[in-house]
């Protein structure tokens, strides 16, 4: 069934059509969300929130742009709002997650030292991505987690391709600077 037909059906109250639409796009939304929050549970909460927003505002979707472009915009905004709302809580859960993953992994074959190092590296990368300025972070996540082209990212972020290129170059430089100490490990 075509996307237009699906949207038409949803607008006329067909919830099964909405289920089909969700099943088609949920993995994409989830990937972007996990790029922002790095936690399965939080990414699922965001995905849920995104689709509730989509359902509520589907009537305002003008078919001037692709549905996926509109959906990505909602996902970016919802993810940023979610992060801002849960800043304090995230500090605590991140600390406990790190500890838990360390304890869990210690039972595996690798020795504890290697595990500690791997967790430390992951944590550093996560912090480096989270520390990027908002626009760079959005462009970086869309590029790396969804493999979108610069043209598609420009469309989603309502900016030029040149601007997206600049954002990605700066994001890469910033990450390399923050993670420079990893070289040689």
């Amino acid at each position: 069934m075509s996307e237009e037909k699906l949207i038409e059906k949803i607008l006329s109250g067909d919830k099964e059509a909405f289920r089909l639409l969700m099943e088609k796009y949920q993995q994409q939304v989830f990937h972007v969300a996990i790029g922002f929050v790095h936690s399965r549970q939080d990414a699922e909460d965001i995905t849920q929130e995104v689709f509730i927003r989509v359902y509520r505002s589907l009537s305002s979707f003008k078919e001037k742009s692709l549905f996926s472009t509109w959906l990505y915009r909602i996902t970016l905004n919802t993810s940023i709002n979610y992060i801002n709302k849960n800043k304090r809580r995230n500090l605590l859960t991140n600390a406990s997650n790190s500890l838990m993953s360390l304890l869990n992994k210690s039972n595996e074959e690798k020795d504890a030292h290697q595990q500690l190092e791997a967790t430390e590296i992951e944590k550093s990368i996560q912090n480096a991505i989270d520390g990027l300025p908002e626009k760079q972070r959005k462009a970086f996540i869309l590029s790396k987690y969804e493999d979108l082209s610069q043209r598609e990212i420009a469309e989603i972020m309502q900016t030029s391709e040149g601007a997206v290129e600049q954002l990605l170059v700066r994001a890469k430089k910033s990450l390399q600077k923050k993670l420079a100490y990893l070289v040689g490990k």
């Binding site: 949803i10 607008l11 949920q26 990937h31 849920q48 509520r56 990368i125 987690y145 993670l179 070289v183």
Partner: protein
């Protein structure tokens, strides 16, 4: 190991996570809970808009029809609008004015 490889490994691991297969059901249940169907139901399809416009046109046409059906003798009242006798203009033009 290069920094890019560390980053790519990290992202690849995160991308391996799969969304809960019951997520769609959860969202639908949440919408059902808030009775969200009403929100979508408020978007009137084109035939509803046409029906409303047609009913307005019908009411106006019926009004004209009923109005033109009224028959019978109408009483006309003639009004004398010749007021030359009411006020003599000579009074202002000074013609034939006797001092």
């Amino acid at each position: 190991m290069k920094i890019d490889n560390y980053i790519d490994d990290f992202i690849r691991k995160e991308k391996e996570e799969q969304v809960n297969p019951y997520l769609a059901t959860r969202v639908l249940a949440k919408l059902e809970e808030n009775n969200e169907a009403v929100v979508i139901g408020t978007i009137a399809p084109i035939w509803k808009k046409l029906a409303v416009a047609a009913s307005f046109a019908l009411v106006i046409a019926v009004g004209f029809g009923l109005g033109s059906m009224v028959k019978g003798d109408k009483e006309y009242i003639s009004i004398n609008i010749n007021d030359s006798q009411l006020e003599n203009l000579n009074l202002y033009t000074m013609i034939d004015y006797d001092e």
